[in-house]
Amino acid sequence: MESKFNARYLAIRYGFLALLAGLLIFFSIFANGFAGPRSAVFIFQSVAITGILALGVTCTLVVDGFDLSIGSVATSSLMLSAYMLVILEQNAFVAVVVCLIMGAFVGFLNGILIVRMKVPDLLATLGMMFLLIGLQRVPTEGRSISTGMRLPSGEVAEGVFSTSFLWIGRHRFDFFLEKLIPVSVLIFLGVAFLVWLFLELTRHGRLMYAIGSNERAASLAGTNVNFYKILAYMISGVTASIGGILLSARLGRGDIASGNNLLLDSVAAALIGFAVLGAAKPNALGTAIGALFVGVLLQGLTMMNAPYYTQDFVKGGVLVIALVFTFALTARSHK
């Protein structure tokens, strides 16, 4: 860190945020209906689920891992909660708990595969992904789960998505304005805060970064590497299952087609997070901002009536430019 807080330093640290601010101003002026508290809440809500997943991936990135199974964990949790509610006719609490346990268990399995069986992380989680994609469709033979559906046995499913479960996905708290803040946004913010707290402020977080930096050294310094790695994957599994629960509560049905893009979008958010505040490493704050960044961009483009394919294009373009900017600068200053 140099004494002169020069232009480059500022660019690295705040370049990405400046870009975000620029986008916000641009859209506020040119996109009709973009500015305003409700629109802001939409943005948060639209990225809440990917954001939560991305925070989990961030934890695995910190220990130098990678979790490709999050998307499928989320959809499994979506299907599982629907199964619990509609077919097994359980209440909301049971459904939520079972989903969280499922997420933790999948994360645990991933972790065991990686630390005990020494399967490379990409490979282990990829296998898990395929496994779950198949598994989640077995109980209903690939059908979506909704009240009144006919089961393979011929019976009709009588359970319903209880109001308390739907509350998770649909309730909005008053906050200055009436019915402003959805539960999912609060959960997103809560998860982001917790993951940030954990990674940045606790010794466990620091040890996880140590493992990501040099696993051998961490182990020789007395860190229980296996424990922390498994923990990272369990966090990732749990956050993904939270994402799935939120999705389920919003949809009100176990829809097998939903959640396709969760994996790539959350990976994108976590990776964009590298660029925030010039961190150049996985970090919770960056991930949350990364997710919001994508949300702002898509919302703005939608408001400007851009066709869907230009949204991908602009998303990619802005991403590349923003990142080139940040990383090229960071790299140079390290020379």
Partner: protein, 322 residues
């Protein structure tokens, strides 16, 4: 010009199209229909694309409400996620029509391309061509609403005709759909060389099956029946010796127009009826060949019922120029 209020001043009327699905020819053509009918009316159209994110789609309805639109078209989606959102729009005094999604609301007319009828007509043609007893391959991925509705027709036909044997069920939505289904169909044909009919009630499936049939050199033996149509499908059906015998389709552009017209009728205080059905049309290979139809435009001009559906009409209603 001559339209009832509030359409007498259409520049001040804002409508929103809230989409669940957008990628692909059908949806692009549908959008084209919506746009051209909206342009003919002169209203301000906003498009919200949720890209198959059902939760986001519900949010988008709320966004449209916040924007102060006068009318909303909900295009596809899930009943469960859209029901409440649609109700909120109705509560806000906004006129709403829903296309291909049942939002369980009596104030909201349902525009439908009857998927059941699509399947039914295609299968009737298959029976006409092949009799009531044949060995069939069926392409189906459960859990996708329109495919599930088309499946109802298939199950009915099967029960009604015990001579029809379902030799294999396969299908996948893995991208690129046509290519992946071609691979599966190849395997199926290898395992069941005596199949004579392929029911592939989605044109991407049909395309895949056609590739497989061509590659297996079984074009003479097998007939493919499908649903939906596009320019590319027309050329595939018309390839020399093509196994693709018939497809049943509604013109997606027409569906789009009907949605906007229904909404316009509601805005002016009228009622298009609780269910607006756009009738499907049977398109056979023989017809395409005899009329030398090359693309969707040709199809429209040779088949007036495909070009324009006389539903949701009013005498003041301006139509898009052809």
């Amino acid at each position: 010009a001559g339209m009832p209020a509030p359409l007498d001043n259409p520049g001040n009327v804002k409508i929103a199209l809230v989409r669940y699905l957008s990628t692909g020819d059908f949806f692009q053509a549908y959008l084209g229909g919506v746009e051209s009918q909206a342009a003919a009316l002169g209203v301000d159209l906003r498009i919200f694309d949720s890209r198959q994110d059902a939760a986001l789609q519900a949010d988008m309805v709320d966004q449209a409400i916040a924007l102060g639109v006068d009318g909303i078209i909900i295009q596809h989606g899930l009943t469960e996620s859209m029901k409440d959102a649609a109700q909120r729009a109705v509560d806000a005094g906004i006129k709403v029509v829903a296309f291909d999604v049942n939002v369980e609301n009596s104030a909201i007319p349902q525009v439908e391309q009857s998927d059941y009828m699509l399947g039914k007509l295609a299968l009737e043609q298959a029976i006409k061509d092949n009799g009531t007893s044949f060995k069939a391959g069926y392409v189906y991925v459960p859990g996708i609403a329109p495919l599930d509705r088309r499946d109802v027709a298939w199950q009915e036909v099967k029960t009604a005709n015990p001579g029809i044997v379902e030799a294999a069920v396969f299908g996948t939505l893995d991208n690129p759909i046509a290519n992946t289904n071609a691979n599966q169909a190849r395997s199926v044909l290898q395992a069941n060389p005596d199949i004579t009919v392929m029911f592939a009630p989605y044109d991407e499936f049909a395309k895949g099956v056609k590739i497989a049939v061509d590659e297996a050199g079984m074009t003479d033996q097998i007939d493919i029946y499908s649903a939906d149509v596009s320019t590319a499908d027309i050329s595939a059906m018309r390839e020399p010796n093509s196994a693709w015998a018939a497809t049943v389709a509604t013109n997606p552009a027409v569906v789009g127009e009907v949605c906007v017209r229904s909404l316009a009728i509601m805005l002016t205080g009228g009622n298009p009826g609780s269910s607006v059905i756009v009738p499907p049309t049977l398109i056979t290979q023989a017809f395409l060949n005899s009329e030398d139809i090359k693309n969707m435009g040709d199809l429209g001009s040779k088949m007036p019922q495909f070009q324009h559906a006389d539903v949701a009409m009013a005498d003041w209603m301006p139509l898009p120029s052809r």
